[in-house]
């Protein structure tokens, strides 16, 4: 492979568009060509910046709390090494070692318990914060609500869609929603004359409660949906509604 051939493959490689089986010859060339290696570095810098060309959305506030809580949560630390000292007094040393091992195991257990409790506390705090967030949303002066009606036979779930135009924030809350069947997930959609727009997938909690918030800035300015739907879709979500409708609500014009 010469440099000219390599350059085309390098652009594809930087983009992640080179099939795996075509990578080894490029790597062999790169190993012997400093110029092309530099070319690859530059191509990677160009490709990395493409990530900036995407509409900027604010992540939900809980994400920051989750990350900081996970970062500062005590982690399992490497076990201190026990000094292995085998002197002449074999029995005494063995007893001392056995006792050391016993106390060490106890100490480690206590440490693990403490870390587990700290982790649980941290998670519980995150849930409490989420509830505060929800309570704050309910106090927004322009909060509007649309009830969503179950569409599946026998479904008794109660779901509502709330939104604040001022905050550009919407969320659905609900109760008694059963877990989705294996391999499937609930997905929320806004419907308009020009089609459907998904606003994420969700699962109810173990008790069947639902809280799924999203940023309304994802919609283009002036886009007016007429209905909101929850459907069952394959795990990972679907680009368009394909599964059965679970609940639906009509949005006033």
């Amino acid at each position: 492979m010469d440099c000219q051939e390599a350059r085309q493959a390098i652009d594809l490689l930087a983009l992640g568009a080179l099939p795996q089986e075509e990578v080894p010859p490029v790597e062999r060339h790169l190993a012997t060509c400093a110029e092309c290696s530099r070319y690859l570095e530059e191509a990677r810098q160009v490709v990395a910046r493409l990530g900036l060309a995407t509409p900027v959305l604010q992540p939900p506030p809980r994400l920051k709390r989750r990350i900081l809580a996970a970062a500062t949560r005590p982690r399992a630390t490497a076990a201190p090494r026990l000094p292995l000292v085998w002197g002449g007094a074999g029995v005494l040393t063995a007893v001392a070692l056995a006792l050391s091992v016993f106390f060490f195991v106890e100490w480690r257990q206590a440490q693990d318990d403490r870390q587990e409790l700290a982790a649980r506390l941290s998670e519980a705090m995150a849930v409490v914060q989420e509830h505060y967030e929800l309570m704050e949303l309910f106090t927004l002066p322009d909060l509007a609500r649309v009830p969503m009606f179950p569409q599946a036979p026998g479904l008794t779930a109660s779901l509502s869609y709330y939104w604040s135009t001022q905050k550009r924030w919407g969320f659905i809350v609900g109760t008694s929603l059963p877990p989705p069947p294996p391999g499937r997930v609930y997905q929320l959609w806004f419907m308009a004359n020009d089609g459907a727009r998904g606003v994420g997938t969700f699962r109810p909690s173990e008790g069947g409660t639902v809280y799924h918030a999203f940023d309304l800035s994802v919609f283009p300015p002036g886009w007016r949906p007429t209905a909101i739907l929850v459907t069952l879709e394959p795990e990972g979500g679907s680009p368009a509604p394909t599964g059965e409708t679970v609940a639906a609500g009509t949005l006033a014009r």
Partner: protein
């Protein structure tokens, strides 16, 4: 900055850097010192753009959150993986986020990558976070992309946002493989000349 002492300033007085104003290098040095306020400042600076990219690729808020959490915890746990001499922190984070999100997408299977949101019209100028430190750079990238013919933009988008190989792009668009390669080559040449020129 007046105080350029870096992590050394954390000793004794307990004072940290002026987090919102500190440079990426200062914040990374503080992350190495296990200062969570530095991680928070980096998240405040780049969390939204990393999240937006992951969400754009995955089309799912929850999984995008997981990607962002992975990226920032990786930064916290292994800050030494970032080598400043090889590029900006932001581009490193975007690369990690893109790769992680594409891994998720590939795990969903071929159909998801082929069928996700319609091709084209994705690399659009939208309201950027005007105050963000990366707003100007974002404008440069958008301007560079706007310079590409639509068919070249589409080829770049299919590769970058959907993780398709050149063969898969040919299959998805019905174009000959040679045409796809040419479009990508021409697009990359133009992007390279515009973006690296801006940098220089």
């Amino acid at each position: 900055m007046e105080d350029a002492a870096g992590p050394g300033r954390h000793g004794g007085s307990g004072m940290g850097p002026d987090y919102p104003q500190a440079s990426d290098e200062e914040l990374m040095a503080a992350v190495v010192q296990r200062d969570p306020r530095a991680l928070e400042a980096l998240y405040d600076r780049y969390g939204a753009v990393v999240y937006s990219l992951a969400r754009r690729i995955l089309g799912d808020a929850h999984r995008a959150e997981d990607v962002v959490q992975d990226i920032f915890l990786r930064l916290w746990d292994r800050p030494q993986l970032y080598v400043a001499s090889r590029g900006q922190l932001l581009t490193w984070l975007l690369t990690l986020a893109r790769n992680r999100a594409i891994d998720h997408l590939r795990a969903q299977g071929r159909q998801q990558r082929f069928l996700r949101s319609p091709a084209g019209a994705q690399l659009e100028a939208q309201d950027p976070a005007e105050q963000a430190s990366w707003a100007l750079e974002r404008q440069q990238v958008l301007a560079a992309l706007a310079n590409l013919p639509p068919e070249q933009r589409e080829a770049i988008e299919l590769a970058y946002f959907r993780g398709l190989t050149h063969r898969e792009i040919a299959e998805a668009t019905g174009l000959p493989l040679g045409t796809v390669k040419t479009r990508i080559r021409l697009a990359m040449q133009k992007l390279r000349s515009l973006l690296l020129q801006e940098e220089g």
